[in-house]
């Protein structure tokens, strides 16, 4: 029992240390929650082995306390609606929404029962292994299971060898699966000589290797003096053409090349990786920046700038570690004195640390026209116009827009009216229209014909009041209104914004081209307004649209790099909020 206690406190300490590294300012309230996450993130087996008893109660209480807090917040919000102003596309917004609506996922703990069967400490003979095997009743092959356990318990390689010897004695051959696990053990323990032996055997015995074996060999060999053999394995995979190497295979090879001072080879491999259409892992890039600190020449600088360009062109946001390396690399340059700061950006698009305005989110006129055409073709007409609307209706709408545009704001009537079920739909819409009409904006409200039927939710009086302040278009009840919204907003020109809470992801998915998808997302971020605070008869407030583009950018003597925080979960349609600001002194 005492032993238990010791390890657990030790574990706690390491976690605390780790956490300090995670974030410069630990907010104590969240600390235990992160513990909870760390536990849930590890596999069931290891979590239980370390100490499930000590942490789980603590973490769960913290969880519930956090929950309570959220609930309390929610209760205080009852007089109005929508929690606080948030940007829909900022990292973590989706998570926030799910917390508010109480849909937070419960951590999944696997219910699979593990057999506790520690491997022996010392090498055994065939008879002893057979005896041990008799006691085993798992679902895996005994030898494979044993080798996996040896990896977990970090047993001496001699034990594994004796097991293989026993198998060889018994069957006269060793199955591929067992060899593979043995290789796994060797790689995890960095047994260079054994890995090389295995490489020899595998190459002789099997004509080709499948993915797991070649990955293990590459990983094992790249850390050894025989690292060039890792490259031959990589070339072999490429030659096969049935499989393609993964970006991790490249990572290992590049690492080996850098460790062995073969810089040109490393860059060659990196460009090969990009040419294959793979996305490099973050630690590959980090490796280059880390090495770049000690190498000071133009070639390196150009290549590293190339990486930054690559990040920009592909809208990849670096992780926190990589950003750290990038910062250090810039600051290590002796000639030009760079200074890096971690900042956030003001809503106006100015960097908080250097006051420089970031790149605008506006599309160029050409981009805008391309987007407009594509959207019309792919999203609204699609393969079959009848799926979203009818040709007559589409024609009618086109004429209507031609006659009445340009608009300043297009409103998705149903979406806005249904933001809250607690208030009357037509009243919400009326107030929103009122509020916008006061600013002398030309409004278009899109709706469906059923809104005109004059029910309790859609009072005719309200509808009439609205129609004096805005232009209306009602689609058939069977038609989709979002494509019309997008079309009307795009048709009105670059100043026109639109209001909906819909993320429009399904419409974005209709566009097959990834470049156009990106343009669409850019346009959406810069033009989509969201009703963020609403108190009946008092406040109608919108979340302002973003004005700056969240992308790696430079002006020559400054760099701004957005990055993902380690603990922030970001979904694919969100952009990071943290930035690295680099300036020449």
């Amino acid at each position: 029992m005492q032993f238990f206690h010791q390890t657990s406190s030790c574990f706690l300490q390491t976690l605390v240390k780790k956490y300090r590294v995670f974030s410069p300012m630990p907010r104590f309230q969240e600390l235990p929650i992160n513990f909870g996450r760390a536990i849930f993130a590890t596999s069931y087996r290891s979590a239980e082995r370390e100490d499930s008893k000590v942490h789980e109660p603590g973490s769960s209480t913290w969880y519930s306390r956090k929950r309570d807090e959220n609930k309390r917040k929610e209760r205080t919000r009852k007089d109005g609606f929508l929690p606080q102003a948030y940007n829909m596309f900022a990292a973590g917004a989706a998570k926030k929404r799910s917390v508010i609506s109480g849909e937070e996922e419960q951590p999944v703990i696997s219910t699979k029962k593990e057999v506790h069967f520690p491997p022996p400490e010392n090498p055994l003979s065939l008879e002893e292994w057979e005896e041990l095997k008799g006691k085993y009743d798992g679902y895996q092959i005994f030898e494979v299971f044993m080798l996996l356990q040896m990896i977990d318990y970090n047993r001496s390689i001699d034990v594994a060898k004796s097991l293989l010897a026993a198998v060889a004695k018994r069957d006269g051959d060793i199955h591929y699966k067992i060899l593979l696990q043995y290789l796994h053990l060797c790689v995890s323990q960095q047994q260079t000589k054994e890995i090389y032996d295995m490489f020899d055997i595998m190459r002789m015995k099997f004509k080709t290797l499948e993915k797991s074996a070649s990955t293990l060999l590459i990983k094992g060999l790249s850390n050894s003096p025989h690292w060039r053999d890792a490259l031959t394995v990589l070339q072999q995979i490429k030659k096969q053409k049935v499989m393609t190497p993964t970006s991790r295979n490249y990572r290992d090879c590049i690492k080996a090349a850098i460790m062995n001072q073969e810089i040109n080879l490393a860059w060659k491999l990196f460009h090969e990786l990009l040419a294959e259409g793979l996305t490099p892992t973050m630690d590959t890039l980090q490796l280059f920046f880390d090495t770049g600190k000690s190498v000071q020449n133009d070639h390196w600088t150009n290549e590293l700038i190339y990486i930054l360009r690559y990040l920009r062109d592909n809208q990849i946001y670096p992780g926190e570690d990589l950003v750290h390396s990038i910062k250090q690399w810039f600051e290590s340059d002796p000639g030009e004195k760079w200074q890096g700061n971690i900042t956030t950006i003001k809503k106006s698009g100015q960097c908080l640390s250097c006051n420089q305005t970031l790149e605008s989110l506006q599309l160029t006129p050409e981009e805008y026209n391309i987007l407009k055409e594509k959207i019309m073709k792919d999203v609204i007409e699609g393969a079959d116009t009848f799926r979203k609307t009818t040709p007559e209706e589409l024609e009618q709408f086109r004429k209507f827009v031609d006659r009445h545009s340009p608009f300043d704001i297009v409103i998705d009537g149903l979406n806005v009216a249904k933001t809250s079920v607690r208030f009357n739909s037509s009243e919400i819409l009326l107030e929103v229209v009122d509020c916008l009409a006061q600013q002398n904006l030309r409004l278009l409200v899109l709706g469906r014909k059923h809104m005109l039927s004059g029910t309790s939710q859609w009072k005719k009086k309200n509808m009439a009041a609205m129609s004096r302040k805005a232009t209306f278009f009602f689609t058939e009840n069977e038609s989709e209104d979002d494509p019309f919204l997008i079309y009307a907003a795009l048709h009105s020109g670059r100043h026109c914004k639109f209001i909906t809470r819909d993320l429009l992801r399904d419409h974005k998915a209709c566009v097959s081209d990834s470049l156009i998808q990106h343009l669409f997302f850019k346009w959406q971020r810069s033009h989509q307004m969201v009703l963020s605070v609403y108190v009946p008869k008092e406040i109608v407030r919108f979340e302002p649209v973003m004005t700056y583009d969240t992308i790696v950018q430079t002006t020559g003597d400054s760099w701004h790099i957005p990055y993902d925080e380690r603990l922030e979960e970001r979904t694919s349609y969100e952009v990071p909020t943290k930035w690295l600001c680099l300036r020449k002194k």
């Binding site: 022996p120 010392n122 002789m204 015995k205 099997f206 004509k207 799926r387 979203k388 039927s453």
Partner: protein, 423 residues
Amino acid sequence: MRILSVCLVNVIRRSFFQLTAQSGTFLILRSKVNTCRTFVLSTCLNKNSLPDATEKLNLDGWKDLMRTTSQEETSEKDSDAEEDPNLTATKELIEVLRLTTKLVPENISEEQFQNLLELPTKTSKKKYLAFLFKRELKKKAEKEKKEKKKESSRETCVEKNSSNKPENRLIKSFWSKSEDIVHSWRVAQSMIFGQPLVFDMSYENEMSQKEIKYTVKQMMECEAFNRRAKDPFHFHYCSLTTDSPYHKEFVKRYGEAWDKLLVTVSEKAYVEIFPRDQIVYLTADSPNEMKKFENDKIYIIGCLVDGAGKPGISFARAKRLNLATARLPLDRYLDWQIGGKNLTLNQMACILLALKDTGDWKEALKFVPQRKHSGFVGTSLTETGIGMKTKTNRITASQGVSHFAAKSSNRQTKIKWWEDVSS
């Protein structure tokens, strides 16, 4: 002294293993292990390298064995290596994959292999191999079952032969063949007098080869169920052109029976055969709920297995032709849980047949798979609901505004549905 110490090692080792076998948590174990080690050191046992030496000898022995066996194998393989490099690479890969118990079939025919080579991505190749593997397993299991059956039937045959007495019977034993004749007769009659049920076969372009296969399989089940029904439909397969993928698949599946099938196959579209005002297109996307089954309507089922998740295809088709549409009242009668509201073709046919026979929705909706819903909506509740409605109607009727009230309630339900859809 030396013998003693060897004994000691054995004792320690054995006790240790017993412990591990009885198990306990890992942490406790480690503490025991530690005590073990200190004990060994104190008696200076590590000087005694006798047992270790013997084990060292055979520790690397297996490697030589592996090398010798491997050389034999490679020499064998070299003989048939004069082929297309891509082909051999794939073959070799399949071989290695099988060793790692990935889902790979044992035997692959030439045709399947060609299919495999044509697949564009790694994942699609893996999926195809897994599919072949599963099919192989199934076939093997079936074969085994068959053989077992054969054996058992042989045994019973022997038993029967021993007691070979003619039985005394009133009617000659009834064979499935004569049953078939009765069924065919009924279907033939329905082809003259029966209500048509149309299958719209114009979705070929929306589907992959696999989905077409599934569709044909479902259609066969439809046909089989219809044949056994008391009062069968007259099946029309519309827009089915000869030598289209559908047609080929049908001929492949049915064989010679395809020409003797008691259904009407036509290259024409249903709008050319039937009057428009009688047609009702059944689609899950329809805003209209089907109230009851009508015997003078011509119902159309779209033959579409939609694996790609393209919603609204059949509804778009009905809109294009300006036809009346309807959906089954699944939400009204069932507590829906999971799964799409679109049912398979054979389920639709079963439901329609049951409706035709009984007109009872509950009876008909038993064919909806049970995993999709948690049972019927409480009967008493709906009945009282209907009763209340009629009551209010009666009251308002006495006040003289019944017509309006009925209309508004109807409209309200419609609106409610639209709000659900649009939100």
